[in-house]
């Protein structure tokens, strides 16, 4: 049986803030439809690497990249790369849940309004599907017009996940998505990982080795900007 083709391929990638390398000469391939965890101590470069995959570090002063970062068969730093399309195909979930001061429904369709403006009639259906995928539908189906900020932290994080999933990303990047949540909410999001990997590839940054053990198909450990051997 053939190994799944890689959706992410890094070749001699070095990431710097000014002159200081944060990630140093990393080679890596990440397979499709798997949960891959990146773990390591603070400052080991895992979040910087994660954000580089969807070019979210571009505006940081002094940030530079060398080597080749290939995502979904495309060199993300090639001049021909459409960054906005890349970010639609490669969703990113942040550590702290961020919901807009709008209704729950408005939050879910936030990205859809701009990427699929002609499909407004389908938004309720797409929103429902995304909320179901994020495991939130049952809790909010009767109050979709309620303000999103009234949800608990854990629900807000799943709402943010639904908003990202609504765009049907092929890769989902999660930057310590449970770090600011209570254990119960964390467990719900961890369980979602197992079902979501059928639809997209997950790259999950975590500090917690036990969490990596629970969710990962493949674990990658970072230290001092390098991948530790045998991971």
């Amino acid at each position: 049986m053939n190994a799944p083709s890689p959706v992410i391929r890094l070749q001699a990638v070095t990431l710097r803030y000014g002159r200081i390398p944060v990630v140093d000469g990393v080679d890596l391939e990440i397979a499709a439809n798997r949960v891959t965890t990146l773990s390591g101590p603070s400052g080991s470069g895992k979040s910087t690497l994660l954000r580089t995959l969807c070019r979210m570090n571009d505006r940081l002063p002094g940030f530079s990249v060398s080597g080749k970062v290939e995502v979904l068969g495309q060199d993300v730093h090639a001049p021909s790369t459409d960054v906005c399309d890349l970010r639609r195909r490669v969703g990113l979930l942040f550590q702290k849940p961020c919901v807009f001061p709008k209704s729950i429904l408005e939050n879910v369709v936030f990205g859809l309004k701009y990427h699929h403006p002609g499909e407004r009639a389908r938004f309720p259906e797409l929103a429902r599907r995304a909320l179901e995928q994020a495991g939130l539908w049952a809790e909010v189906k009767d109050r979709l017009d309620a303000p999103a900020v009234a949800l608990s932290q854990g629900q807000q994080q799943r709402l943010a996940l639904a908003r990202t999933l609504a765009l049907e990303p092929e890769i989902l990047l999660l930057d310590e998505p449970t770090a600011s949540l209570d254990p119960e909410s964390s467990a719900i999001i961890e369980e979602l990982a197992a079902t979501l990997k059928a639809r997209c590839s997950l790259v999950w940054v975590t500090h917690d080795p036990a969490q990596a053990d629970r969710i990962a198909d493949r674990k990658i450990a970072f230290a001092d900007g390098r991948i530790l051997p045998h991971t």
Binding site: C54, F94, C98, F110, Y114, H115
Partner: protein, 281 residues
């Protein structure tokens, strides 16, 4: 001296400073109200001016509104574009700081110099002469730093997490402006414009010799006509009137002008407060 006494004295000194500022404003308002009130009446507010210092101030008030609103309409797109350029295009750094410094410096230029330079550039080189159009152009440049700074600060106050989220969802810069920046900074936009309008409405020196006359016209009929304004009306009467009735008319015009300015400031505070409440919901 004990620490408690020292704290008390410092608190008193600070309170005195605050009281002095408020008292000065109170004194100015009371003086204008006291002296201007007797002149107010239907005829004064709604009729055309008569001989020197006689008649109403309707056309002066309309002239002031024309210059103020014209300047605001011209300035707003410039201020918005420039603020968006600074916040969305320029990265934080020395170029961004330089633009801010230049705008702050522009704010510090004496307004009479705006009048002189504005007349030279617009009135002479662009051949708009002494006209309400020149006045609008001069005032628009003069209030640009006030409006731009207020607009930019309201954009910079948008939580970075909103911007990051919109970026991560693949919105283009313009989509991000529409989806996040403009809706979240609407209070700042309105406040900035109204504060700019209030400043323009109160300005005298910059329009004195570029846009306004004391008499000879009522309302401009073409772009090259000058306008009557409350500011010029007050200045001329205050300098030249010897008749007590004309002096009272100057105070009355002052009261109308200050009411106009306070209406704009009050409106901006109201909109800011309402939007602050809505943003918290």
């Amino acid at each position: 001296m004990s620490r408690k006494t020292k704290d008390f004295l410092i608190m008193m000194a600070l309170g005195l400073c605050a009281l002095l500022g408020a008292a000065l404003l109170g004194f100015i308002l009371s003086a204008v109200l006291w002296r201007g009130w007797p002149a107010l009446g239907f005829d004064f507010l709604f009729t055309a001016p008569g001989k020197f210092g006689e008649g109403g101030v309707l056309f002066q008030a309309l002239g002031t509104l024309l210059l103020t609103l014209g300047a605001g309409a011209l300035c707003f797109p410039l201020a918005l574009g420039s603020a968006l350029f600074q916040t969305e295009v320029l990265r934080p750094g020395k170029w961004n700081d330089t633009v801010s410094l230049l705008l702050y410096s522009l704010n510090a230029v004496p307004t009479v110099l705006f009048g002189l330079i504005g007349f030279l550039v617009f009135g002479v080189w662009m051949d708009t002469g002494v006209s309400w159009l020149t006045g609008v152009l001069v005032l628009a440049v003069m209030i640009l730093p006030t409006v731009q700074t207020a607009v930019r600060q309201s954009m910079q106050a948008i939580p970075e997490s909103y911007q990051e989220t919109a970026r991560a969802l693949g919105l283009t810069p313009w989509q991000r402006v529409r989806a996040v920046v403009l809706p979240r900074s609407v209070a700042g936009l309105v406040t900035g414009v109204l504060m700019g309008l209030a400043r323009a409405a109160g300005e005298t020196a910059a329009i004195m010799f570029t846009a306004t006359v004391f008499s000879g016209v009522l309302f401009p009929k073409s772009l090259s006509d000058p306008a009557l304004t409350l500011q010029t009306h007050i200045l001329t009467l205050a300098q030249e009137a010897v008749d007590p009735a004309a002096q009272a008319a100057a105070w009355g015009a002052g009261l109308v002008l200050i009411s106009l300015v306070f209406c704009l400031i009050g409106l901006s505070l109201l909109i800011r407060r309402r939007n602050a409440v809505e943003a918290d919901l």
